[in-house]
Symmetry: C2
DNA sequence: CTGAAAGCGCTTACAG
DNA sequence: CTGAAAGCGCTTACAG
């Protein structure tokens, strides 16, 4: 029922090759013919069939977006909505569509194969932050263009867009240091997550710069959830910290609760800085000083970069790291 | 480079028709042949090209999911992540893929055309709650199977899955009534959103049942955001409410802040009940009594129902309304 | 600048 | 139960 190239061609009295050429903006079409075809297309609201185009050209103009559901606080954190928003907006601009896979553990195998070989996508953006995610190795072994959201230390040639987690936590801890805190504890992310380890790295860097020895008793591993932040406090408190850098706002929020229950004043007794700048961070008690990351821009850049990789292949891996920003609220206790 | 049906056929010494039949689980293939083909497919990890299949069969096994970005609190509310999760999980089970469109106002026109006529999706789920969303009328005029998340009062034949907003707010207000509150104010959603109006309807129903006259001075329109809840309180306070039903948790959270600043005690002076049960609702001060809605199940049912519509077309519109649940916390002041 | 023709990888009557 | 053949709606050398 929908019209085809052939129909347009008949109406215009040209061949379907010509119609195809004007649709794909090739030169080699006389201005008059081009205009006429354009008019007809406009008039009857013609949309080329993308399945046919995909089959013939080997390009579908659709990007896959793979989001692993394994990770914790996926519904309290606006990370994925913002990422999706960025990807989608840029795809719209570039005339690409986006295919979404929420990658549940049980389906992982099937997903990878489907994405790689079913010919439906020209490339894929994976937002996995797990060090050893099987989908990452599958992608690395395959030949489909792809780009990671989040860098991968083990694979130097991978394309990625990431937030500068090291610089972010360095910023956070430096701020605490400048506010004369010296016993700065940290709740880290899980060991198998790159962002978690990067944020720990920034913590160490800042300490080092100020000549403060690294004290293992002041670092506790969390898993980015509120609850893990809450229980981390129990381990940290005996060591009398005067500040806390939490590798996520969710954990900071749990820590704030625990601190409150232990009758420890924030920021007077313990200053707190989080990471992520989730909306909730402005509403904790006290409002949380934290590190803002430009997630939507990450998504947007990821889409744009992947399209470049698809359309203008080179040997150079494309890698971009976006800066973060310190957002000062009350929990750090710096009265400007 | 990827293998094709033809390759499998050659290896097995059969025609590609036969291979196609076993892939599509048709009968009319001898058990031995079927097994042999299956083995080869398994062995070489064959994935049929979906673009080709789509072109030949007119079915792509992909569902479109359209999410309008016009609406307010899209990143503080886990509605969309949960919805997407439900849709995606069920699509995985049913061997469908999902194509995502975040519908930004400027692109709306292009989006609709693309979805309807580019042959990439077999049907679409639209999560629009606007009364007069242009995409809804475009879909209604087109011939692509679709299903709405959220009912549409003006179109009785539309397929939809919705949460019972009327029953939900009825539940909320009844609870307040049972707790001896009589001057119950409400902050509504915007007039052009169906869910908003449904929630107002439930409020009226409960009042009516208890013989309490409807008092327009006690109802203020909000737009589902925190801020609108905050400012609504200024209009309501002069009329001395003893309770508040807020049509969203975000607005309730703003209202709580305003109440607090006005030195009005919750729940002693004013009992508060929200709607949505966002994660934050458990952490407000005091924790918010609210109405829980099964969003993920809505997504799951939407996908399942749309697939039924695609695969077994009938004339009957499919319409399902899911019940909500009252979650009692502290803000309503009922000490069980 | 333009058209005829082959081909992308499947499905689907049709004939046997 | 099986295969040969046409066809889905495009793109893309190739020839002119």
């Amino acid at each position: 029922m929908p019209l085809t190239l052939e129909d347009i061609a008949r109406i215009c009295g040209v061949s379907r090759s010509t119609v195809s050429r004007v649709i794909n903006s090739e030169r080699n079409v006389s201005p008059e013919t081009r205009q006429q075809v354009l008019n007809v297309i406009q008039e009857i609201n013609f949309q080329p069939n993308l399945a046919a185009r995909g089959l013939a050209a080997g390009k579908t103009r659709v990007l896959g977006l793979v989001i692993p559901m394994g990770v914790g606080a996926i519904f309290t954190d606006p990370f994925f909505p913002l990422l999706i928003h960025g990807v989608s907006a840029t795809c719209n601009e570039l005339d690409y569509s986006v295919m979404l896979w929420l990658d549940e553990p049980e389906y992982e195998r099937r997903t990878v194969r489907q994405i790689l070989y079913n010919g439906l996508v020209d490339g894929v953006i994976v937002s996995s932050m797990l060090m050893d995610d099987p989908i990452l190795t599958a992608l690395a072994d395959g030949k489909l263009p792809y780009l990671q959201v989040g860098r991968h230390p083990a694979n130097p040639r991978v394309n990625f867009v990431d937030v500068d987690n090291i610089q972010g936590s360095y910023l956070a801890v430096s701020h605490l240091l400048k506010s004369d805190r010296r016993r700065i504890a940290t709740i880290t992310g899980p060991k198998n997550m790159i962002a978690g380890m990067d944020r720990l790295q920034g913590y160490r860097l800042a300490l080092e710069e100020w000549g403060i020895p690294f004290n293992p008793a002041l670092v506790v591993e969390g898993n980015f959830t509120d609850l893990s932040g809450y229980s981390a406090i129990q381990h940290i408190l005996p060591h009398h910290p005067d500040a806390l850098f939490s590798a996520s706002d969710a954990m900071a929020s749990g820590a704030l609760r625990a601190l409150h229950e232990a009758n420890i004043r924030v920021p007077e007794d313990v200053a707190v800085v989080g990471f992520d700048d989730i909306p909730f961070a402005a509403h904790t008690d006290p409002p949380l000083t934290t590190i803002h990351q430009p997630i939507q821009r990450v998504g947007s850049l990821a889409a744009q970069t992947l399209v470049e990789i698809i359309e203008q292949p080179t040997n150079q891996p494309r890698q971009v790291i976006l800066p973060t920003e310190l957002i000062i609220r009350s929990s750090c206790g710096c009265k400007v």
